[in-house]
């Protein structure tokens, strides 16, 4: 799960990281009022789950409250990477002497959390990694002991030679690590981490990605989920325990298992079609889940055929067949459908489907070819 900058900043503040004040506005009026409260220059920042907000024009400086209102008017409703901006963060502008990068990421290769710092802040760390990899210092943390004080200190002195700044940075690195652990993060970034001319180190932007699997034990973070930032069909799928991602094609795919679902999409493409979605119905063959899957697939107006690819291991094919029959009774299905069921209780499943007027196949390649033909229409 992704959270917004203002939410990540709340978490950082709770762990003691110095973060300038900020408030969220959903209307230009609110933005003006908040800016007037701060007085002086403010920054108006789009709150949207996408990188590159600055480049897209979603971050603007305003000299006064009236200008903040204008900027908010321009930014609210703007599209950034196909996401609509619903909220802006208003925060006082800071005097900046230097900009650095501080991040923690779960690293699969070393199977540990890796802290990265770079004195080249304010730009994407990927860009620094590509152009000037030596400017990034990395340190793997042994999760059993946590971040040790000398490690934080070593990283901090790598960023700042001035002891006054380095001591603040070491404290912030430790606080960020605590926040990362407490909020179940797989990524936490402060970019930029600034030093002001007055010698204060502060976080003026923040990004966090949360491990979905950890949400069950951090309800206060789960509560930060922004449902308006989520695709409605994807939200419906998530709530039903399905995993769905909409794509641009016209063959609606319904598969059990993530790997098989991806392989099925690939095969659709291989036979000249375009998958409309990724959809994993998981191990359960509960008819309600199958009905929800149908509803989600058919809510996509681009879909021209529906492809079912089920490999029954634990999942019983007859349960899925019953689910398909049940679903087509409950919803008025106008689209052609190609079904493949193999494995546990396959014979029973084929019988159930035949009795209800469906054709059932047993080979993956055959069913994908059929679904692609059906999507192309009767003429081909």
């Amino acid at each position: 799960m992704n959270i917004h900058e203002y939410q990540a900043k709340e978490i950082l503040r709770a762990h003691g990281v110095p973060v300038p004040p900020g408030e969220v506005a959903t209307t230009p009026d609110e933005a003006e009022r908040i800016a007037a409260g701060y007085g002086g220059m403010v920054v108006v920042k789009a709150q949207v789950h996408a990188g590159g907000r600055g480049k897209a024009g979603g971050v603007k400086l305003a000299n006064d409250a009236a200008e903040a209102r204008e900027q908010a008017e321009a930014i609210l409703g703007m599209q950034i990477k196909e996401l609509t901006v619903e909220k802006v963060l208003i925060t006082p502008a800071e005097d900046i002497d230097t900009e650095a990068y501080l991040g923690i990421v779960m690293d699969r290769g070393s199977q540990s959390d890796v802290i990265m710092v770079s004195s080249e802040g304010g730009i994407d760390i990927e860009e620094v990694a590509a152009t000037n990899p030596d400017a990034i210092q990395k340190m793997a943390v042994d999760a059993r002991y946590g971040l040790l004080p000398h490690q934080a200190s070593a990283l901090a002195y790598g960023l700042y030679s001035e002891p006054k700044l380095a001591r603040q940075a070491a404290r912030i690195i430790a606080q960020l690590y605590d926040a990362y652990r407490a909020a179940g993060c797989t990524l936490a970034e402060i970019n930029p981490l600034i030093a002001t001319p007055a010698g204060e180190v502060k976080a003026i932007d923040a990004k966090m990605n949360i491990d979905d699997n950890a949400l069950f034990r951090i309800p206060d973070v789960e509560a930060m989920r922004d449902e308006s930032a989520e695709d409605p069909a994807e939200r419906k799928a998530r709530e039903a325990g399905l995993s769905y991602i909409q794509l641009d094609g016209d063959v609606g795919c319904c598969v059990n298992g993530a790997g098989l679902a991806m392989a099925t999409m690939d095969l659709v493409k291989h036979y000249g079609g375009e998958p409309a979605n990724f959809l994993d119905i998981g191990g359960s063959s509960n008819p309600d889940k199958v009905v929800t899957a149908f509803e989600i697939i058919t809510s996509d107006p681009n879909v021209k055929s529906i492809l079912f690819n089920i490999f029954g291991g634990i999942t019983r094919c007859d349960d899925v067949a019953n689910g398909i029959v049940e679903a087509t009774r409950r919803i008025d299905l106008k689209l052609p459908i190609a079904i493949r069921l193999t494995g546990t209780n396959e014979d029973l499943a084929v019988e159930i489907l035949k009795e209800n007027g469906f054709e059932a196949m047993t080979d993956m390649d055959e069913v994908v070819k059929r679904a692609v033909e059906l999507a192309a229409g009767p003429s081909s």
């Binding site: 059993r144 699997n213 995993s243 392989a263 634990i314």
Partner: protein, 289 residues
């Protein structure tokens, strides 16, 4: 022969009285696996299905029955604790089927398991099956036949699909291992490839990867540098868009890293024949046996 499991494997089931645990215990026994004990805290002293003694702790189960392997079917919130407990009890092999385990939990469990000298497979995996010998986990027994092909995969049902297609053509398997779809797992491709290389009954290996991470690229280099046996590969997720998690927590393309194209290119560079479709694996394997 087989890898990680053999005729001497005696298994303790953690979470034996749960819905999944009890169902799959019966399936494993039916397949011929030597299930010697179960563990459910608070249910020690009971006997599962009139044949498997249940203990409160894994240590007791190991002391009383000599179990040397464990399989875990407990809910995600308790999975890492179950892994720690199994490692502490001194079993050699721990297979964690549970999905949805927080990565932070694995971050501490993985080094602990290694220090105890145990092998962990998973989490979020279907387990492993050695046709005719036994199975640990949830792989369906009816689709495998004994033979010379080793299978290692990050997926569940896609693995079944590949096994099914091989079996349909009469090509049997030595051992099939599902290593799991999470970003942090106990046993990776290289561990399995090394074991297959050493297994006298494995003559070729099918490696089934997917988008996300760089495990397949590392494995490709291992195949080139360390293996004499032929390896063929398939990568799922050629049509997956970057930045979107495709079901498995590990299946996400971040930046330019982890794409199917990149992994397929790494395979080809290391002389691993790449199947465009799962069905193509059959012919590629057949021509290398």
């Amino acid at each position: 022969m087989s890898i990680f499991i053999d005729g001497n494997t005696s298994l303790v089931v953690q979470g034996i009285t749960g819905r999944d645990g009890s169902f799959h215990t019966r399936q494993m026994i039916e397949y011929g696996t030597n299930v010697v004990a179960g563990v459910t805290p608070g249910k020690g002293g009971q006997v599962f299905d009139d044949r498997v003694p249940v203990f409160n702790t894994v240590s007791e189960a190991v002391e009383e029955t000599g179990a040397n392997a464990s399989v875990i079917y407990v809910p995600a919130a308790f999975a890492s604790s179950a892994i720690f407990e199994a490692a502490d009890a001194g079993v050699d092999l721990i297979v964690c089927i549970t999905e949805g385990v927080p990565v932070a939990d694995m971050m501490t469990a993985l080094p602990y398991v290694r220090e105890k000298g145990a092998r962990l497979i998973g989490p979020n995996c279907p387990g492993l099956i050695a046709p005719g010998i036994g199975k640990i986990g949830i792989l369906p027994g009816q689709i495998v036949i004994p033979g010379p092909v080793g299978i290692v995969s990050r997926s569940g049902t896609l693995t079944y699909e590949v096994i099914f297609q091989l079996t349909r053509e009469g090509i049997g398997q030595s051992t099939c291992v599902g290593i799991g779809g999470d970003p942090l797992i106990g046993t990776d491709f290289v561990d399995c490839l090394r074991a297959f290389e050493e297994d006298p009954d494995t003559r070729a290996v099918a490696m089934i990867g997917e988008i996300g991470g760089t495990d397949e690229q590392v494995a490709a280099t291992f195949v080139r540098d360390e293996m004499s046996k032929p390896v063929v590969g398939f990568i799922a997720g050629q049509t997956a868009p970057p930045g979107r998690r495709m079901g498995h927590a590990g299946a996400i393309i971040s930046g330019s890293e982890g794409t199917a194209a990149e992994k397929m290119a790494a395979f080809r560079e290391c002389d691993i024949a790449v199947a465009e479709r799962p069905a193509d694996l059959v012919g590629l394997i057949e021509s290398r046996l």
